[in-house]
């Protein structure tokens, strides 16, 4: 018997039942009465001045209602961006990347919109472009943005790390650069430590341009009527989108409603605003609802993952203890900032690892280039930084004659030790997790040639900023509805929140339902990201349940004419003096007098108490990978995948394992197969034929998913978050495994057959990083 009735059990998820029957509603399934269909005319060059846009022919086409261009947006605030409002809804005077929206064609049918889209004539004058971070950094490089923008980043962004952040928007026109954002982090005396070191190891790696491929492409349907905007969208963070839309139309927040049904894959890539402004301004223009669904190609050009070129120099003593780490990160963030400043800040924090690093210097720069905008992706900067520093550590181990587990054993921080000054200590037992991963790998080691193994670990300051609200409403029959602004995108938040409510109120899971993510209905939730829902929404919901219980006790006291402290809680009921008992439903009915009424409990969470110290929790990753390389072809087969999730407490263990295997599999995709490739102004592989993601035949032969539950999180029942942790260290583990299999260290991902074959045959890269 466990001490819990509902949590800690792999309950049957109701959302999964809806999804297997085809009745689950996604944004793509949503229609509005009288809606028009939109298609977006996009730039066919990387950087060019717009000389003219001629929509005459398009407007004359059958069933076409309107063509919207930047000129039409003059009465509005024409940009969005939750950190820097630099992102033009429609390109005004120039385009900054191939695929940038230039005009919106609105028609009665999708076919008519598609046909007419080709009839919009845009005349351009090409400008010199910067297609890589290196080109963007070069002296005299063409500027992607000539003008400055106001930073919209709120306090929670500014106080994110408590260190130097530079919004690179100098006053003087002549001093402008393509640096979108810069973050520095430093302590100790790196130079002195290096000077006295036994060993200094330097390495430079390139992290590829990835695409998250949430299989439902970005889409929205919007209706602007009489100074009020209603949008249904595939956004992970509907409240953040609402804020952007309210700024665009100068509307009170109460007049902008954004709701999110089920999402077809998020993985961070549906964080923040995407196509909602396009659909909304179109509806505003014509006074009818507008539906806009992107193709996968358009979605790739809407948001991809930040690439990174990272130089690492680590200094060690003779025993392999880290004396100092110096890390220089340059990210190619594309044409608009979007969430890249945060990705960069997180990359800096997550780059040097959960180790004792007495002296540290990290410099991070995020660059504007004339490529598709980059933004959040599962792991937020961790996969990039972690890959660079873990590979460096493994190279040091080799030079010191240590194995990968041993050098980590000698450097990992212990439970409670801080890796960032002034921040919460590490709330995980990484040393124990390492032994689990390493012993699992060793147990199934194969004694064959071209076989290699790697262990790798990471720690992410997760949870984002602790602002969360939740409501529970107890119905007059005793059933319970949970309201939360946290979005269900497959991770299982709906089911998890119902488990927490059932546990806290002592009611059967079958009488709890959950309503999520409608900014005019559900209570405020900052974001659904950074693995925060179990921990932060869970806490807010516990408080809402406690509040509801208090109200129920007060009402029962009134009914029994006693004092509230004479009423005690029972599961789903209360007990009063002389053994009187009333179930929740009876309390509601008796108090209101009739078969009617409802009791609402409210839970508020802010930065205080258990969530005062930042981050709210650490999301760690501990993985082991074993590979077998085919020396003839360079094909890498993953023989073993081991993940150890230090999650404190698994509210639904099956859901956590699902997140871990999913995250690790995406990590394997980025480490072995996935890469967007620019060829001139445009991507050579902006489609799912040429952008290869893991398939069922790529499954590791052995998969060992371990949950380390030590109840050491601040969340409900000791829970911490999950979902990103087991992706973050995969790149480093794969790189180490392949290096040990082929005898040479890779300097980039993904490790495609050709690259591995070249490593094996001591040949140079055919396509070295720029």
């Amino acid at each position: 018997m466990t001490e819990f009735s509902t949590v800690g059990t792999s309950v049957r998820r109701r959302d999964l039942v809806e999804k297997v029957t085809g009745s689950a509603e996604y944004t793509v399934d949503v229609t509005m009465p009288g809606m028009l269909h939109a298609k977006v005319v996009r730039s066919d060059r990387a950087h060019a001045r717009i000389l003219s846009i001629d929509a005459t022919e398009a407007l004359a086409a059958p069933d076409v209602v309107a063509v919207v261009t930047a000129a039409d947006l003059e009465p509005l605030f024409p940009r969005f961006g939750h950190i820097i409002a630099d992102h033009f809804i429609l390109a005004p005077d120039k385009v900054r990347y191939f695929g940038e929206p230039v005009a919106i064609v609105l028609a009665e049918t999708l076919g008519a919109a598609s046909d007419a889209m080709r009839l919009v004539r845009v005349e351009y004058e090409d400008l010199p472009s910067v297609m890589t971070a290196a080109a963007a950094l070069a002296e005299g490089a063409p500027l992607v943005h000539e003008q400055a923008y106001d930073a919209t980043g709120d306090d929670s962004f500014k106080s994110l790390t408590g260190k130097k952040h530079t919004m690179e928007f100098p006053e003087a026109e002549g001093a402008r650069t393509n640096v979108a954002h810069e973050v520095d982090l430093e302590w100790g005396d790196v130079d002195a430590a290096r000077a006295g070191a036994h060993l200094v190891v330097e390495s430079t790696v390139h992290y590829p341009m990835l695409y998250a491929y949430g299989m439902e492409p970005y889409n929205a349907v919007a209706s602007y009527v009489d100074g009020a905007l209603s949008v249904v969208s595939s956004a992970q963070h509907p409240y953040m989108v609402r804020d952007d839309l309210a700024r665009i139309f100068d509307l009170p927040l109460s007049r902008v409603r954004v709701s999110t049904p089920y999402i077809g894959g998020g993985y961070g890539s549906k964080s923040y605003t995407k196509v909602e402004p396009l659909a909304s301004v179109a509806s505003w223009m014509v006074g009818r609802p507008v539906k806009l669904v992107l193709s996968v190609e358009e979605a790739i050009y809407t948001t991809r993952v930040d690439t990174a070129d990272i130089h690492v120099r680590s200094s060690f003593d003779a025993e392999g203890h880290i004396l100092a780490r110096e890390i220089d990160i340059v990210m190619d963030s594309g044409a608009y900032a979007d969430n890249s400043p945060l990705v960069l800040a997180k990359c800096v924090n997550r780059s040097f690892g959960p180790y004792r690093v007495p002296n540290l210097r990290v410099r991070g720069r995020s660059l504007y280039t004339n490529t598709a905008p980059a933004s959040s992706y599962r792991g937020f900067g961790a996969p990039q930084g972690n890959f660079a520093a873990e590979t460096n550590l493994d190279q040091a181990a080799e030079q010191l004659g240590l194995d990968g587990a041993e050098i980590r054993r000698r450097n990992l921080v212990r439970h409670g030790e801080a890796i960032l000054p002034g921040k919460r200590g590490i709330d995980a037992d990484l040393l124990a997790d390492l032994e689990i991963a390493a012993s699992s790998l060793e147990r199934d080691r194969k004694d064959t040639p071209y076989y290699g193994m790697g262990v790798s670990c990471s720690a992410s300051d997760a949870g984002a900023y602790p602002i969360s609200t939740a409501q529970v409403r107890i119905q007059f029959d005793g059933s319970v509805i949970v309201f939360s602004g946290s979005t269900e995108m497959g991770q299982g938040s709906q089911s998890l929140l119902s488990q927490v409510a059932a546990e806290e109120l002592g009611v059967d899971l079958g009488v709890v339902s959950v309503v999520q993510s409608d900014t005019s209905v559900t209570p405020y939730e900052r974001t659904t990201g950074a693995s925060r829902t179990s921990t932060l929404v869970g806490l807010a919901l516990q408080r809402a349940c406690a509040d509801a219980r208090t109200r129920i006790r007060d009402m029962a006291a009134e009914i029994w004419s006693c004092t509230p402290d004479e009423v005690i809680d029972l599961p789903g009921a209360v007990q009063g003096p002389e053994g009187a008992k009333l179930a929740y439903g009876e309390v509601v009915r008796k108090w209101f007098g009739g078969t009617a009424g409802e009791v609402t409990g409210i839970g508020l969470l802010r930065r205080e108490g258990v969530t005062q110290e930042m981050p709210p929790f650490w999301e760690t990753g501990m993985v082991g990978v074993a590979v077998e390389v085919d020396p003839e072809t360079g094909v890498v087969t993953v023989d073993q995948l081991v993940t150890v999730a230090d999650i404190g407490f698994a509210i639904n263990p099956q859901a956590v394992e699902g997140q871990d295997l999913g995250a690790a599999t995406q990590g394997l995709g980025g480490a072995l197969y996935e890469e967007l490739v620019y060829d001139g102004p445009q991507l050579a592989n902006a489609n799912m034929v040429d952008y290869r993601v893991p398939r069922v035949t790529d499954m590791p032969r052995k998969i060992d998913l371990v949950l380390a539950e030590r109840r050491d999180g601040i969340g409900p029942y000791g829970a911490k978050g999950a979902g990103e942790g087991q992706l973050n260290p995969i790149g480093g583990a794969v790189a180490a495994a392949v290096a040990r299999a082929v005898g040479r260290w890779p300097n980039r991902l993904p490790l495609t057959p050709e690259r591995v074959w070249r490593l094996l045959n001591d040949l140079e890269d055919s396509d070295p990083p720029a």
Binding site: D15, L16, G22, M215, G264, G490, G662, V689, T697
Partner: protein, 164 residues
């Protein structure tokens, strides 16, 4: 020269019901199902026949409805995810997917279900290797595939047990 025909009258059996419509010659089966018939259970993603999301059965064979012309379904029988459960009772594959946690976001699931049904109808009791090979054309970004294979395997095992 005669104008090319832009519309065709067709008769298709969809989930057991005969549907007669006039469709544009360029109409894709996925749009016919989702927009004309409001059968939105089937989703679409890559539009290039490589992700498997839009898989439906045509005369019992899995096809990618994103690249299948509606007119080609004339006189044929189309089966979609909506037909799997009946009277509130889930199909064994649906039960197995829920039990095994073989989905998270669920967007790829209708395609996986129909692809798996296509296999198990034609080859009851299929072995794990056959299942893996058969599902290679379907992408899932959430689960890492193992639970999906386990779900289909569990139904194949039931079939083998029932056949004995």
């Amino acid at each position: 020269m005669a104008e090319p025909r832009t519309e065709f009258a067709i008769s298709v059996e969809v989930n057991g019901t005969t549907v007669e419509r006039t469709v544009e010659s360029r109409s894709l089966l996925i749009d016919f199902l989702r927009s004309d018939l409001a059968l939105t259970g089937t989703k679409v993603s890559c539009e290039l026949q490589v992700c498997g999301v839009c898989t439906v059965l045509v005369d019992g064979r899995p096809v990618s409805s994103c690249t299948y012309l509606t007119v080609d379904a004339d006189g044929r029988s189309v089966t979609t995810v909506e037909s799997l459960s009946s009277g509130g009772k889930l199909h064994p594959l649906q039960e197995a997917f829920v039990d095994c946690h073989a989905l998270q976001c669920g967007f790829c699931t209708p395609g996986f279900l129909m692809m798996a049904k296509g296999l198990l109808d034609a080859n009851p009791g299929a072995e794990r290797e056959e299942i893996v090979e058969h599902l290679e054309g379907n992408i899932c970004r959430c689960t890492g595939y193992r639970p999906i294979v386990e779900a289909v395997e569990s139904v194949a095992r039931q079939q083998r047990a029932e056949a004995k």
